[in-house]
Amino acid sequence: MSTVDTPAAPAPALGVARPSGGQPPRRRRRRRGSARADVLGLVCAAVIAFPLYWMVLSAVKPEGEVQSLNPRPWTLRPALDSFQRLFSVNDFGRYFLNSVIVAVVVVVLSAGCAFLAATALTRFRFRLRGALLVALLVAQMIPVESLTIPLFFLIRNLGDAVPPLGLNQLGALVLVHLGLGLPFTIWMLRGFVRVVPEELEEAAYLDGASRWQFLTRILFPLVAPGLVATSVFSFINAWNDFLFAKTLIISAPEQQTLPMSLLVFMKVDQNDWGAIMAGSTIMTIPVLVFFLLVQRHLVAGTAGAVKG
């Protein structure tokens, strides 16, 4: 998927001589400017990456070194005992798997819903269109954290009707994250759907394609890079969640997600920072992998949203 080339892929602009600007003096100046940008970029990246370095460092420091009055920015004795304490938490693998299930299901469902909705809101003209667009924006303004109580009751009642969406079920988490992520996802995707020329649609109908065929055979492949971009947002939202895992999974430890395993190490008197940082590192890795795989599409994808 990550090898698909996108139209808005960054142009290798600066430093590369274009036919119109090939005179030697200007070229030299541009190269100097670009070297400065390189350095600036590396400094930026270093400053931003420092806390991350500290996180990984603290995770691999031996127990005595993590908490010290003179923290050193390196360790001579890397150790994995923090990870051992982390993995010795009951069901750590189960938590990890639950998190993956929730995030993946949310990504797939929200890509589907958002594709259909963005298409309807972009390519169809109907009476309530403007109102629905505003409704989406308003949905983005709900202070979700303070509405956990009504959500809790909703999920409890829903569980009586549809058991897989009730309390202590991963389905409840999927439903909540799907709802909270959709407005932004649709917003981003609209720009993508809009740039597909209308002539293409007319041509498809002239060739006897049905609406459904146009959607699945023509529009979907064209919008796919945008879906990859939005999937990063849905993935991160679902993966990062702490609050709803805590609110909706109340009495089923086997249905807990990854962030909850970190809570084990938070104690009133003394936090186990080594294990917390090890857990944080483990939690960050899947996001990074996912992110590195799709980051090229992500930038191209946001261009779609911005252009809209």
Binding site: M141, I149, L154
Partner: protein, 303 residues
């Protein structure tokens, strides 16, 4: 463009899954909160000294109490200050990051990835990470040579939250601005350079105006998010700390104390605050944000 009744029906079909989910997850809790905010539960003595229990309709009493409480105004001020300061910092840093990400040639992918990573990290994790950095014997005090209790209360706690939030979210602004930068054709810079514009002039006169639409989208979404800030101060400093308590945290805290009525009132007030800010922002700066104006113009042409 499809304007027939059949188009309306198809659109309804395509939109139904999304709006079904939204009605459940967003619509229902909001209506429930509105209703709840007009009620109060628990035992209380009425004027004649009788015990009244259960859910009672109290009109706007919860709102009146909320607006009368000093704690509400502290949270309101915190929310506003955090929003203004962090969004301002994030816009400046994010734009700078976008320019760097756009220009850097060697190791471009790596630079871009490492700049964007903080945004991809779970908020709970970055909250913990910064808590660890800002703790009394942590690396922040060591590096700065200070002896501050960053994560307890007072202005150091405010600064800690602002630093952590800017670190975490500037990349998001950077990402959206970068997308905008990539839409600017190179010839524009070429022309500006031929006219003898300096790098700064190019940035002020060419980059900034052209990247403005992207920037506005980024700022709008950041405003909506920052006003609802919850988990970062919660993890970094903790609940019930006057210096960093936001409206979201206050509402959550009330609900946690089983005072659902007041909690709902705080949530509704916060929601209205966000709506007002978003409305003003769209009116003042981004009339075309919804893309409606262009659509209207297009339909006029085709009509």
């Amino acid at each position: 463009m499809n304007t027939t009744a059949r188009a309306g029906r198809t659109a309804a079909l395509l939109l139904s899954p999304t709006f079904l989910v939204l009605a459940l997850v967003v619509g229902y809790p909001l209506l429930a909160a509105l209703r709840e905010s007009l009620h109060r539960s628990g035992d209380e003595l009425d004027e004649s000294g009788f015990i009244v229990s259960g859910d009672r309709f109290v009109g706007l009493d919860n709102y009146a109490d909320a607006v009368g409480a000093a704690r509400f105004w502290t949270a309101f001020a915190n929310t506003t200050v955090f929003t203004l300061v962090t969004v301002a910092i994030e816009v400046v840093l994010g734009t700078a990051m976008a320019v760097v990400m756009h220009r850097a040639m060697r190791g471009r992918g790596l630079v871009r990835a490492s700049i964007l990573v903080p945004w991809a990290i779970p908020t709970a994790v970055s909250g913990l990470l910064w808590r660890w950095i800002f703790q009394a014997d942590g690396v922040a005090n060591t590096l700065l040579g200070t002896d501050l209790l960053w994560t307890s209360d007072g202005w150091p706690a405010k600064i800690a939250v602002i630093v952590a939030d800017s670190w975490k979210t500037a990349p998001f602004v950077g990402l959206l601005v970068l997308a905008g930068l990539q839409l600017i054709p190179n010839d524009v810079y070429e022309a500006a350079r031929l006219d003898g514009a300096s790098a700064w002039q190019q940035f002020r006169r060419v980059t900034l105006p052209l990247v403005k639409p992207a920037l506005l989208v980024a700022v709008l979404f950041r405003l909506l998010d920052a006003l609802r800030m919850f988990d970062l101060p919660f993890v970094l400093v903790g609940p019930q700390k006057g210096a960093v308590e936001t409206l979201s945290m206050l509402a959550w805290n009330e609900a946690n104390q089983v005072r659902y009525g007041p909690a709902a009132a705080y949530s509704v007030i916060l929601f209205l605050y966000v709506v007002v800010i978003a409305f003003v922002f769209v009116k003042l700066l981004g009339a075309d944000l919804l893309g409606e104006r262009r659509a209207r113009r297009r339909s006029e042409v085709s009509a």
